[in-house]
Symmetry: D2
Subunit: 363 residues, 4 copies
């Protein structure tokens, strides 16, 4: 069967990437694309690379226009999805690329986002370890899916195997990311101008204020499997992320796309090299889109450009007493739109890799 789809936020970067992937999906008919201020204009004016969709016109983003499709993708600024999701109760499958349905903790939402809190949906990172299994299992048949934050899923995938296996100490995680500006969207802000980004590395949200921090804590907490963890979760906090602390610093670098996350955590006492490497091998050895590179190899973002692949390299630095994981993803694919489409495939019972590529566009 063919599923009809509506994509909101279709003139933005996340919406555009969802469309690029869906345009190659044999089971999908892109019926409706919507936008805000650009409504009424041809899609191709805002997404000139989407040649095969030149016939589509941007409509208003209203519940009425989004309703009546088998699947609705929401690619809206944070805080705007909620008003639509309530009114789209009849839509069989909704996937939100925004943050509105990601967090379980009201306190975290209030502190990092603010505004109305919305119920958390199933988290769209299939390969992520989750209470002894994977998030994938929860996505089968899901009807409401929260696509991940691009930085958050990159860091969570990087370290979750070690947290799940208990071979790293999650109380002192440090993650520094080289990121392309497309993750910040098409908004007209001075610091996103080309002249401000070309030939320079620019840090932002330094010191524990980035909105993806609680999302990472939540994902890593959910990766834990021991009884102690379970009990601590029920008794001590809503999100169960005690003992998980992360110093998180993103740095804008001069590439349109890509995240290269360098994440590290102290080696857990007694963990052998085999324990450590084995944890990641066990977690991702059978995965198509999350791959651990051989010892001594580390990925480049070019290797995953346009692909749904997360590549990671792992080093055990005994002198510094840290496990270091370097992970490359395309923020718009595996970080956002690819995660959304992969999750959709799982939810619908389609082949998980449909319309997704594992090979990057390099050089």
């Amino acid at each position: 069967m063919t599923y009809s789809v509506a994509v909101s936020g279709a003139s933005g970067y996340a919406g555009g990437e969802i469309l690029r992937l869906l345009a190659a999906h044999p089971d999908i008919e892109i019926r409706t694309v919507t936008a805000h201020s650009n409504a009424g204009q041809p899609l191709i004016e805002h997404q000139p690379h989407l040649r095969s969709l030149a016939h589509l016109e941007l409509q208003e983003t209203t519940p009425e226009i989004l309703a009546g499709h088998d699947i609705v993708f929401l690619a809206l600024p944070h805080g705007q999805s909620g008003q639509y999701t309530d009114a789209l109760g009849d839509v069989p499958l909704i996937i939100d690329a925004g943050a509105d349905h990601r967090l379980e903790s009201v306190a975290d939402w209030d502190r990092f986002y603010g505004g109305s809190f919305h119920d958390p949906w199933t988290y769209g990172v299939p390969e992520l370890p989750f209470r002894g299994g994977k998030q994938r299992e929860r996505l089968v048949g899901a009807t409401r899916i929260a696509a991940p934050g691009c930085n958050a899923s990159t860091v969570s995938l990087s370290l979750a195997p070690g947290v799940a296996a208990g071979v790293i100490d999650p109380s002192d995680i440090v993650s520094v990311l080289a990121v392309g500006p497309s993750g910040a969207g098409k908004s007209l802000k001075p610091h996103l101008l080309g002249s401000e980004l070309l030939g320079t590395a620019n840090p932002y949200a330094v010191g524990g204020v980035h909105r993806h921090i609680p999302e990472i804590r939540q994902a890593l907490a959910a990766a834990r499997v021991t009884d102690a963890d379970a009990s601590s979760r029920s008794s001590r906090s809503a999100t169960g992320d005690e003992g998980i602390r992360i110093s998180f610093t993103p740095v804008l670098v001069p590439m349109a796309r890509g995240i290269l996350a360098t994440s590290s955590a102290p080696i857990a006492p007694g963990a052998t090299d085999a324990d450590i490497r084995g944890a990641w091998e066990a977690a991702y050895g059978d995965e198509t889109f999350v791959q651990l590179l051989p010892e001594g190899s580390f990925p480049r973002t070019a290797d995953v450009l346009g692909a749904n692949t997360a590549l990671m390299g792992l080093a055990i630095d005994r002198a510094a007493n840290r496990v270091v994981v370097v992970t490359a993803v395309d923020n718009l694919v595996k970080g956002t739109a690819g995660a959304a489409v992969q999750s959709m495939n799982i939810a619908l019972g389609l082949s998980e890799d449909r319309a997704l590529t594992v090979n990057g566009v390099a050089p």
Copy 2:
């Protein structure tokens, strides 16, 4: 008076930058430039941006040709300076931009470099805290100066004030650097090709193997001032860097120049925010070329392009229990050639900022 100068390695990036700075120095006459395989060719063919030096021809790099100058700059591949320094005993001032005269520990040299060990020279980072004072004091009248490694001096400057003041715990430092490829020199290696670097972030030397690691440990150890530190130094190791551990990861990003180092360390027990910020303010408040930005501000590498300035921003992340310092330098200026010229000015008793600019070329 005017000092006569010879610059070896003049067709490379470090040598070229030394020449760019010296060309604007009123007390310096650039008399001789030397190279290896390019000897016999006009300098301008290899440094087409150095228009004012178009009259110079590259000569062979031999002790005979380098001798007889007031000052000799060595900008040679690591391991090659030693053969010249022994033969240039009569030269009043030699400044080595290579690593040969940086390390005090033979063990570190053997492990990270190998080959013949050479005596350590005075370290050319004037602003760096050193046993209660600054390295500057040691540079006055110095005759043999080791210019720093670009990454090493950036990280050392970032954290030394906190180590000196005891407000951070140096046993779990994590530093991740976005760096431009000019720091790797003009060598013809596949991973340095433009096609491999454009539009991508590429990690290298992951997991504790980068050669600048012992240099950072040594510099931070020398920043300590307490009795306990002193005694531990004398009793426990040659270099006195016990208790200093660093996880260090450089990432090549698509800019020709620049280092943006994100460094963090645990907050020392009991250290207040005022203690912490005060340590950096005390260390750099009077410096021209090392500046702490106001709270909440962080630097970009563009802000220091072509300048001898190190700009740093500091955040205290209590949730992660870490002090985070983000520092921007131009690797070829403050990281190498500027450090060399600034140290030369001090050694000769000239105004410290002669031929050096504090304003970057941005955007």
Copy 3:
């Protein structure tokens, strides 16, 4: 049926891109990949983005190893294909991505390349006007195909409709191209280092010496259809490119991939705006992979990244008396590997767009 394929030069950029496209081709089995100095190593070490081909090992490039496949792709340095093509007489289809089989004129070959001349093969630019028709027709059933030079096909596609229709004067063509360095291959040359290419625009082969010039002249001459042209061809020269002159200047700019060619020629006397625009619309109105943008629109290379699309915008500048055509292609796809695969599809009678995408990866 499934065709077995061997790709030589598989560790280079052109070879890698052929593999990336073929990896997604349902009718192709990539059986053999060969290289020169890298033989014996896993392909994935040299093409870390080709995750789905991680099982392949690079073999020696010899006629014996290349023989026995249904299709052989040659992605070798110019001048090296000939030695293999003679020995591979039994291979049903050979596609050469090098220059060896492109030129019809021995004089041009001698002047721009030198070394042994080889017979011209069918030119692999299907959409290119050719003596009243298209090159496509000649590709049906072809067994020996010369993939085009990336710059050459971009310029030829840009102007051929105007030459064919007689609405521009081909005796004073000017073409200036912004190009990414991947077109120059993975060779270790100083001017291709990242430090030399980041943040700068670098011209090369200025003043009429670029090797793609005779290829453009030949392609545009073949686009002509009038009797006068035909007779001039037969009587006056081997290649029939009298009256076709081009000033051609490529400029390396800081993007790994992409060609943006700005080409112009004088307006032919009497040609109306409708005549001019109509010529391009007639030539490309039905094409999938070569598209003329609406009046006032011009393409960016980002819009065709990773895609087999050539996008062009056309302006008629009466004040300057020139038709200006700006064309964007991905040099490794439409400029090389995509042209090769598209031509292969036609030669084999497969759907022309198999394994090729029309949508670019942007931003």
Copy 4:
């Protein structure tokens, strides 16, 4: 003596670069900096690279605040200078970096800019050939100076020697420029976002609509010296630019700064190679900041980054019957702020190169 200076538009790119240069000028005191919406804020927040000017605060841009200085620089959007220049009659020297006082032809102004026409001021490109001499002579003692358009001065300098000497035919000039986005200023427009500019080449103002076209025609017309030209100017048009036609296409490429202009024109009948090359050598042989490279050499924008230098390479392509000139400038220095400061130096009788560097910052 020290001249007091006010710089308007000080939070923008042109204003920032004027300040960067003046900060190093021994005869200048930067007393006042003004802005529009950013008035009241510290300059350093908008120009974080100008460390030596951290004490300055942005004031309102009003005639009252600008008055009372020895020199006023106007770095305002086109069309806004006029309102100030009328009210600043008492200011001894005003230099306008905008377009308002560049054009002599009311018709050109109306067609390419629109709004109120203002009297042309002395054109601030000292090295430009002008009726048998140079523009420099007109700048001595000038009190009202129009700094050039960055693209316009680059192209005019490229070709004026050939026009003056009659060795090229100015009726069919073609110029294609690779340009960095800083020339477009800090305005918040979607096409200037980093995500839209990184990794891509983007043409704009194609087909004869760019505002610098009439400025080039005017400058090249003024380079002519023959009687015939003079008479034609008086009898046939206000600006005397008959017979000068230019096809002009700028292409944004991923570098913050820089212009690489590839300009060509037909060889005049009978002109020998010596005539042609001699024309440029005669024009620029004695210049410091405009340099013709040796035969076969062509410049890169990196070679002039941050410098006031225009480097040009010249090729004579007899096959294409064109003289090709490739010129590199830093659009913010030689293209704007450097031209302004150099002109100021001449007007005031100071050394022409004061505060200006000839060496670029490379790599």
